[in-house]
């Protein structure tokens, strides 16, 4: 299993005069768990959002499962796809946000079934059955009929994971999934992500949890100043930083 799930070469992105991504190169294979670490403002989250076209990158190649995300190659140009096609692509890439972003007007169960019913066209009954299985896999069976505002941060984030999984994605993106959580709730969310890793899901996780990166990831990318500065096996990279930047970053977070 070495076919690439994500291939990025020379990906750039600016917000006005601010160059956030200055040529990101990285490759993530199917079944890999890749962690993206780096100081805030280094472009980790922006790059993650480019992967499912929540942000449009300016230049460079970004392929998911061998296809350009949000674009179609015609000769030497990339044409942006229609909204409908982008939606189809996105539905195959799960995303979990730092601030959970659960739909506030829907119960935990309805949050999970919304996509399957309205994007995949499943019957409500079938979607419900699968959603209940997913909620039980993240330990929230009895919270199915509760609204997000009544759930703890950790519970909300686990519902968000179930919501993403309900689309049966081939790739999961996590954007600092534990950064908005109280310390005692971090563990339960990391546990759910670890479970997914064991099941062989391909994942990209932007995180500040170095312990998690060391334990679960098999690839680590250190981003700073809009490019990937260092990459490799997490244990080696974290133990022997090759660049001054990574060494100084690690000295602050470890």
């Amino acid at each position: 299993m070495t076919s690439p799930m994500i291939e990025a070469s020379g990906v750039t992105k600016s917000f006005g005069a601010v160059h956030v991504l200055k040529g990101v190169n990285l490759a993530v294979n199917k079944g890999d768990v890749a962690c993206l670490i780096g100081p805030s403002g280094s472009g980790k989250s922006t790059f993650l959002r480019c992967i499912n076209h929540l942000e449009k990158h300016d230049a460079g190649n970004l392929l998911v499962d061998g296809e350009f995300v949000g674009y179609e190659r015609r000769g030497n140009t990339l044409r942006e796809l229609s909204d409908r096609q982008i939606c189809t692509e996105r539905s195959q890439i799960g995303m979990v946000f730092q601030r959970f972003n659960l739909f506030g007007h829907l119960t935990a169960l309805e949050n999970v079934t919304l996509g399957p019913i309205h994007v995949r066209g499943e019957t409500p009954a079938a979607a419900r059955d699968r959603a209940m299985t997913l909620l039980s896999s993240v330990g929230l069976t009895e919270k199915a009929s509760i609204y997000p505002s009544q759930l703890s941060g950790g519970q909300q984030q686990r519902v968000a994971i179930a919501r993403a999984l309900a689309m049966e994605p081939k790739l999961m993106l996590f954007d600092e999934p534990t950064s908005a959580l109280d310390p005692e709730l971090v563990g339960e969310v990391l546990e759910a992500i670890k479970q997914l890793a064991n099941d062989g899901m391909t994942m990209v996780v932007v995180t500040h949890e170095m312990g998690f990166a060391r334990e679960v990831a098999n690839q680590l990318f250190f981003m700073d100043d809009g490019i990937v500065q260092e990459s490799g096996d997490p244990r080696e990279v974290l133990a022997n930083p090759q660049t001054e930047r990574l060494a100084s970053f690690l000295s602050k977070v470890l």
């Binding site: 499912n52 929540l54 909204d83 409908r84 939606c87 189809t88 996105r90 539905s91 195959q92 890439i93 799960g94 995303m95 946000f97 601030r99 972003n101 659960l102 739909f103 506030g104 007007h105 829907l106 119960t107 919304l114 996509g115 309205h118 994007v119 609204y147 997000p148 505002s149 009544q150 968000a160 919501r163 993403a164 689309m167």
Partner: protein, 339 residues
């Protein structure tokens, strides 16, 4: 003793003397108002009848003829009369239909206003600017007289031949003129209300919907609008209540709604004030019903955003009654602090 030792202290709430005085003052004022409402005034006529008579003299006792200051007898006579009732139905139809036009139009304009296309956004702004910027009364008169500048209306190819046409006078009856005038004006206000509601929804919700793969329209319908409702409903309730009363302007176009129906009666009987009271009573009744409806709709849409739903009026009455009874039973603070 500065410390209470092992004795537990009782908490005595502060007494708000000013509040009691203010309350008493208000009760006196309300009493005076009720007295006025139920007072009688002389009509100027006197009624005399013979009480005793001799051959030369007749003795009469005369009393002033009194009537209700607010002519409640006349009010009672007309409040359920069929003409007033027909007017009321027209007012309700006008309010309901213009609000439907207003909401549909407002939603469309709000979405256009938020469109990425500059042309669409600007034209939506222009619509709101115009219809919010001119008095609704002027707009009503404009549509009523539209036939003066567009004698016929044609449907056909732009700048080309006409395929179908109708006389403006036929199309713009007083009723349709009122509907179009009030509806367009309401659309302008509703568009701002709906736009505010959409903008109040966190961007993260849209991103989450996108990441699940929902299309733009489904994101709007399934994620954004249901949550915008919580912000949209309260001012929309105000708009409905406001429209109920603004629809009385249609009386100027000879639409026989509630006010015009009352006017038609007093045009022949000269009982102006009683008939205005009759109309006011109906406006108040409908407003009350609408306010109750608004409460329950707001409660419905606050699911998920409030941990505890607001109490219904009935629950509130039960709580207050229990509170008052409870206070009567325990004379709090009379014995002071034991310490």
């Amino acid at each position: 003793m500065t410390s209470s030792g092992d004795e537990l202290l009782r908490v005595v709430p502060a007494r708000h003397v000013g509040r009691w005085f203010a309350g008493a003052g208000v009760i006196v004022i309300i009493g005076m108002m009720i007295h006025t409402f139920l007072s009688k005034i002389p009509t100027g006529q006197t009624l005399c009848h013979e009480v005793a008579s001799t051959a030369e003299h007749k003795v009469f006792r005369c009393v002033d003829v009194m009537q209700w200051r607010f002519s409640w007898d006349v009010v009672g006579k007309y409040v359920t009369s069929s003409n007033i009732f027909k007017g009321l139905l027209m007012t309700l139809a006008l309010t309901g239909l213009t609000m439907v036009i207003g909401v549909v139009l407002g939603a469309t304009v709000a979405v256009l206003r938020l469109s990425a296309s500059r042309i669409l956004a600007a034209s939506a702004w222009l619509f709101t600017w115009f219809f919010r910027g001119t008095p609704v009364y002027v707009q009503l008169l404009f549509w009523f007289n539209i036939a003066a500048i567009f004698p016929t209306l044609d449907l056909g190819i732009p700048f080309g031949p006409s395929l179908w046409h109708i006389d403006a006078v036929t199309l713009f009856t007083p009723f349709t003129a009122a509907l179009v005038g009030l509806g367009l004006n309401e659309g302008a206000y509703m568009s701002e209300i709906i736009r505010g509601g959409i903008l109040a929804v966190d961007e993260g919700q849209i991103e989450a919907a996108n990441s699940v793969g929902l299309s733009r329209l489904k994101t709007l319908r399934l994620v954004v609008l249901p949550q915008a409702m919580r912000v949209i409903i309260p001012p929309t309730g105000n708009e409905v209540i406001s429209m109920l009363k603004t629809s009385s302007l249609a009386s100027a176009l000879a639409v026989v709604e509630l006010l015009k129906a009352a006017q038609n009666v007093y045009a022949s009987t000269y009982e102006v004030i009683p008939l205005l009271i009759v109309a006011s009573i109906w406006y108040l009744i409908i407003t009350t019903i609408l306010s109750i409806g608004q409460f329950y709709i707001e409660r419905h849409f606050s699911r998920g955003s409030l941990r505890n739903l607001p109490m219904t009026p009935w629950e509130r009455i039960v709580r207050d009654t229990r509170g008052v009874i409870g206070k009567m039973r325990t004379p709090r603070g009379l014995r002071g602090v034991r310490a």
